[in-house]
């Protein structure tokens, strides 16, 4: 399923011969040749059809890399990312036909192989592919797609499409499935000013939302009211028992405890890596600081909003993809500098892709299948699955071939050490997103 060698040749700025002589590439060459056909692994400039044949023939399995101190960072692209202008099937004439105003000229595309390539704003994702740090899962969706933002986001968050008013999210259930909490740190953290995403809503585990780390400082008027007094007072029983009051009481305890822990961790070092000036970059830098400070939080969740590009999308979409690519890449560099790269997996998703045909306002309307990205040292790098057909459509939308719950299963089983079948509503074949 991987196209490491083919793809890396296309992306390489160095002459291929030189590339192949480096020890790093030789190592990758050997690894790659184990799993894919030797033709692809040779790194020859194979025509697209050969590459796709190789993709179909080489069945890979998902690696099991689960360890207690693994960290998952989820980046939610809110609004419905235009997948077709993110991973672009530039070689398909139907692409240009459907995207009259929005088409990215072929010479600007960061080519992955003879068929697909990245939007030019994702040049840093090209570099990540070069470094074996990016998996592109194509054609991800679910049956009977819903084009409502909220409903579809709920489906991605709950991973339970049949439940019309879901109460818990897939990550929340993953947290609940773990053994009793042994550390004082929050099991997961949401970095953002919005409400806690449904994905993180658990029955038992309270997940904090924070906008900046300063929010994690409990202020008191001093005197007799110390933090310890406040903690004790907050935990004395209530007059009447109510599930709601108990939930608030547990969350208050978690609040006061995390406040102390985060203040301790913040007094430690800050990293050497420069981040670009984006909101997403700022949040990912906080995540890197917390990870490096020894916080035992296993899941971080951040959002990048604005993908609902119904009109004049060219500049907006380019800017958003630039923010996504450059922030993610800076984050991975920072983790490397801090020696934390092997513990961290990044995953991005959006609630849906967009219509194949652009609309009359130089934008795109709500669609269906789109690519997902997994990034970091633990991933099985390359494109997974083919780009969905531009001719075999369903009501003007791309047909999915990979259920998002298969990708979740790959992450749950192989990274978070959960039993995905008890968390998702059914058994899903894990997508091979992790190195074996």
């Amino acid at each position: 399923m991987l196209l490491d060698a083919t793809r890396s040749h296309k992306l390489s700025v160095k002459p291929r011969g030189a590339d192949m002589t480096t020890p790093f590439s030789r190592r990758r060459f050997l690894q790659t040749s184990v799993g894919t056909s030797s033709l692809v692994a040779l790194g020859l400039d194979v025509p697209g059809f050969l590459a796709r044949t190789a993709q179909a023939a080489s069945l890979r399995r998902n690696g099991n890399r689960s360890k207690p101190d693994n960290v998952l960072v989820v980046i939610q692209l809110s609004g419905g990312n235009d997948g077709l202008n993110t991973v672009i099937p530039y070689a398909d004439p139907l692409y240009a036909k459907n995207r009259i105003l929005l088409r990215i000229p072929e010479q600007q595309i960061i080519k992955i192989d003879d068929h697909i390539g990245f939007h030019p704003s994702l040049s840093s994702f090209g570099e990540l592919l070069e470094q074996d740090q990016l998996a592109v899962v194509q054609g991800v969706g679910y049956p009977n797609p819903d084009r409502s933002h909220f409903r579809s986001m709920d489906i991605w968050h709950s991973a339970a499409p049949k439940d019309l008013s879901p109460r818990t999210g897939w990550l929340g259930r993953a947290l609940d499935s773990k053994a009793a909490k042994t550390t004082r740190d929050a099991a997961a953290l949401h970095l953002g000013a919005n409400e806690l995403p449904l994905a993180l809503v658990a029955r038992e585990t309270a997940v904090p939302s924070i906008d900046s780390l300063d929010a994690f400082r409990l202020r008191t008027s001093g005197g007799a009211l110390t933090t310890d007094t406040l903690r004790e007072l907050s935990q004395l029983p209530t007059q009447r028992e109510s599930a709601l009051a108990q939930f608030i009481q547990r969350s208050t305890l978690s609040a006061i405890d995390s406040s102390q822990r985060v203040q301790e961790s913040l007094s430690e070092k800050s990293g050497p890596t420069t981040y670009p000036g984006y909101g997403l970059a700022r949040k990912l830098q906080l995540v890197a600081q917390l990870i490096d400070a020894g916080m035992e939080t296993g899941i971080y969740y951040v959002e990048l909003a604005g993908f609902d590009t119904h009109s004049s999308q060219v500049d907006t979409h380019a800017a958003l993809l630039r923010e996504l690519g450059d922030s993610t890449t800076a984050f991975l560099k920072d983790l490397q500098a801090r020696g934390q790269q092997d513990r961290v997996l990044v995953m991005s998703f959006s609630e849906f892709g967009r219509r194949v045909r652009e609309n009359s306002s130089a934008g795109t309307d709500h669609g269906t299948a789109a690519p997902m990205f997994l990034a970091g040292a633990p991933v099985q790098s390359g494109a997974i699955g083919a780009h969905p057909s531009l001719i075999d459509l369903q009501a003007g939308d791309l047909k999915f071939h990979t259920d998002f719950r298969s990708v979740y299963a790959g992450v749950l089983d192989g990274w978070l050490g959960c039993d995905s079948s008890s968390i998702l509503d059914g058994k899903f074949q894990p997508t091979p997103v992790l190195r074996v």
């Binding site: 009211l225 007059q239 306002s361």
Partner: protein, 461 residues
Amino acid sequence: MAVTLMSRIDPNWAWEPYRPKRESPWNLQRVAHLYRRAAFGGRWQEIETALKAGPEKTLARLLNREPDQAEATSAFYADSETQVTALLATGNVENLPAWWLNLMARTPHPLLERVALVWHGHFATSAAKVEDAELMLAQNALIRRQALAEFQPLVLGMARDPAMLLWLDSATNKKAHPNENFAREVMELFCLGLGNYTENDIKESARAFTGWEVRHREFQFNSYQHDEGSKTVLGQTGNWNGEDIIRILLEQPAAAQFLVGKFYRAFISETDDPSPELIEALAAGYRKHNYNTGWLVERILSSNLFFSEHALGQRVKSPVEMAIGVMRGLNFSVNAFALADDLRAQGQAVFYPPNVKGWDGGREWINSAALLSRMNLIWAMVSGVDNRFKSPPDLAEIAAENGFTTPAEQVIWLTNLLLGGPLPADVQLRLTALAAENDNGSQRLARVVQAIAARPEFHVA
């Protein structure tokens, strides 16, 4: 609390007017509950008056119907119009949240603002995208005008509201390319709820709304772009326009049920799903009263169910409700701009809802970081130590004005006022110790309030 399945509640009993009984007396707990839900929170004097006046007269007052109220209320809102003019002169859309928060804290008709806030979450439109103070205020005025009146003019007003149409990318809607966004939201979020229409109903309705557009920041109907063909929506076929679609939607049984469900969550309980029978019993009356929300809210606030264990403490205060409740209860004001910033960080910036669905509310408001923010905000407002809020209330003086002078009395007063009754005896004792601490007076009671804000009882409504 004994858990009674909601399906076992007798719908007839539930919506009958509440009459004080031995097992459900008109007491401090119920008066404070009514004021929290209907008015963000009550001042001590209001609570004492209500205890004597009984439920009917108290509700009349909350509905702004007592003879002495009309004039003062009109004068207040006329004055707020003047403020709006000044606000618009600045042209700064970011001033809007402070303006509304200030209105909520000071209004003599808090129920109007409380319901307006519910509708703002229902028709959630964000200034972050609209970026036009005048249009956002026009929508806010539409909400206030219809908040306690009929729903049909409200939703029709929204269909023609420039801020709404800009927000939903529906400022242009051409015959050749009908924009489905408004047609979808009017069914999913405004009138029916998921599962009560099909994708085809959306496509057909979108055609009926073609030609409804915004030109030069005003709504206009462009007949050249209106699709005059026949459309079939929810089983009705005809050359429908947008008004027809709204009529058809409000003819669906699901419409009143959906809206009543929303008000159930806002005023009765967020912790249990009401049975369809319970909702329908009220929805039938809402339909009969032409979707008059004033009727609906009055019926809810005067019902047996509202004053029962099924409702008491079964909601989570939103950050706005929490802050405004403390300000109204202790009768003080703070810098509304600083307050707006703080509430925005807590996820509830009025005029800036997070998405088209508004705020989910309930447990979604609660997590450890949110609780830190809540405790820190209450601390900042009442201690005055934080330089954002410079004029803290003089708690000892307010207590003394109401006749509470000893630490024990002051603690009982604060818990009665903010929680509608005392905390368990051991907690009450610890609070009294804080109030009796031997140092500067104002911080003693500020610490008591901060400790109260660390209690779960403070965060439920």
